[in-house]
């Protein structure tokens, strides 16, 4: 608990939000990179289907995604059951793990789409040139594709982090509203408004607004500077 402008604010939700966003972004960059690469290189009609599935969280009500995740991850369900076989204890829903799983699905397009566009923009001639210098497929990916897609990684990382910080519906459905355990900033704001604690709601909302604006300014200024650089 700290006091800002005479308003008492619990730090727990802020800390938990940052932790979920950080873990989610790391997982998504790790899993999203090969997925984005595969989709970017895909030439079959199946590509359209995968692109549509990846983009689903953009249009689906978060409650729908959260509802299905609750069904799939419930303590008596197949997924939890399978994990129990490997010595997993506890449950996936209403826990930190649940929050991260929900966030990974919810923020998937924010990682995969910028990466996919960055990968697609790498000219084939550079990959051919690298192959002609004996670079294997993995070598080509790390020494040609990754450095030429730096911008994509930056945009994907920042947008994923910011979007995870800002989620509400999915995390409420799968994580609930458990203080110090699954209560994130967005849910905390909801609670403050419900209890008419408007000064707390004001402060947290203001912080979220400034944070989101700062992230977007960073992304757009990076794109702008890069545009200038390429125009020269």
């Amino acid at each position: 608990m700290i006091e800002i402008f005479g308003v008492n604010i619990g730090l727990g939700p802020i800390w938990l939000t940052l932790k979920v966003a950080f873990v989610t972004t790391s997982i998504l960059l790790f899993l999203g990179t090969p997925l984005a690469w595969a989709v970017a290189r895909m030439r079959s009609r199946f590509k359209i289907f995968i692109e549509a599935v990846v983009a689903l969280p953009l249009v689906l009500p978060p409650t729908v995604l959260g509802f299905y995740l609750l069904i799939v991850l419930n303590p008596d369900g197949l997924v939890t059951g399978a994990l129990r076989l490997f010595g997993f204890e506890g449950q996936l829903t209403f826990s930190f793990t649940g929050l991260v799983i929900g966030s990974v699905f919810y923020s998937l397009p924010f990682t995969v789409q910028p990466l996919m566009h960055a990968f697609e923009a790498v000219p084939q001639k550079f990959l051919d040139a690298a192959a002609m210098m004996r670079a294997s497929a993995l070598d080509r990916f790390f020494t040609v594709v990754v450095p030429l897609s730096r911008q994509g990684f930056f945009v994907a990382g920042t947008l994923t982090f910011a979007h995870t910080v800002g989620e509400f519906g999915v995390v409420l459905m799968i994580g609930g509203n458990i203080p110090e355990k699954t209560r994130l900033v967005s849910i905390d704001i909801f609670n403050h408004v419900e209890t008419l604690a408007y000064s707390q709601a004001h402060l947290l909302s203001g912080v979220m607004l400034l944070f989101s604006l700062a992230v977007l300014l960073m992304v757009y200024s990076f794109n702008f500077r890069l545009g200038l650089k390429f125009r020269q």
Partner: protein, 278 residues
């Protein structure tokens, strides 16, 4: 010997090479109009077209058998692309190192040596995108040589250059051809390049090999056939057999007296030759 028979269907274009047999020595030019399939054929040989089918052998080593093919990176080919394809995130030195580090012999001395021969020693610290067209192709050729290939492929390496750079790079390629023992496959649609460089010519039309002449100007072939093989393009020196023969001679046999501005001359001034042979 590079021999085989390749087919490839790509975006409405069909390559059906027919049986071919290319000597694995000297410069073999792939000649034909734009869109005739020269590039596609060369890329199929290099393993850069995954849809390639058929059979391909290089000096007895199987590179393609049906739909199975040896990965491009395992074919020991050096490739000079039309637009140089230098990595924009690396400087000239790092571009050369990329090839050198993945080659059988990774010596620093060899890198410096090749950079000097290609006349780019003073450009090593520069970003690739800050180089002129001619300089970019010099780096691209250096990079291809540094990977110590068993076969060098050049896909219209002069087409993006201005006249003056064209002459410089053509001279450089002549030096490379004379100096290295590596066979070169060279795509062009310019008769003057063909005449200066090629010992053998593969004529490509609408995706198949129309004919190949080997070796050109050997004396075994009537002169009429040779001139016909150029699709009756107006070669001024066809009327002068001495000059035509001269064009076939390796650079080393020239006396160095021809003016270097003559774009038909394959001869290098003697000091540039010795510089290259260093």
């Amino acid at each position: 010997m590079i021999e085989g028979n390749l087919t490839l269907q790509k975006e409405g274009f069909r390559l059906e090479s027919g049986d071919f047999s290319i000597p694995a020595s000297g410069v073999t030019a792939f000649f034909g109009r734009s869109g005739s399939g020269k590039s596609t054929f060369l890329r199929a040989i290099a393993g850069l077209e995954p849809q390639t089918r058929g059979i391909l052998r290089f000096n007895g080593q199987l590179w393609q058998n049906g739909s199975k093919s040896l990965a491009a990176e395992k074919r020991d080919i050096g490739f000079v692309f039309q637009e140089s394809a230098l990595f924009p995130h690396l400087n000239v030195h790092e571009n050369l190192l990329y090839a050198s580090r993945r080659s059988p012999e990774k010596s620093r001395r060899r890198l410096d040596d090749v950079a000097w021969k290609m006349g780019i020693s003073h450009k090593l610290d520069q970003k690739a995108q800050n180089l002129s067209g001619g300089e970019k192709q010099r780096v691209a050729i250096a990079r291809a040589l540094l990977s110590q290939p068993k076969l060098l492929c050049m896909d219209e390496p002069l087409s993006a250059l201005d006249w003056e750079s064209k002459e410089e790079i053509l001279t450089l390629i002549e030096q490379v051809a004379a100096d290295s023992q590596v066979p070169i496959l060279y795509i062009t649609h310019t008769p003057s390049e063909l005449e200066r460089l090629a010992a053998n010519v593969i004529f490509i039309k609408e995706g198949h090999i129309e004919r190949s002449t080997l070796p050109r100007f050997s004396g075994l072939r009537p002169k009429e056939e040779v001139s016909e093989s150029f699709f009756r393009l107006p070669f001024k020196n066809e009327a002068d057999p001495a000059l035509a023969l001269d064009a076939k001679h390796p650079a080393g046999k020239c006396t160095g007296t021809q003016p270097s501005s003559s774009h038909r001359s394959p001869c290098l001034s003697s000091d540039r030759q010795s510089l290259f042979r260093g």
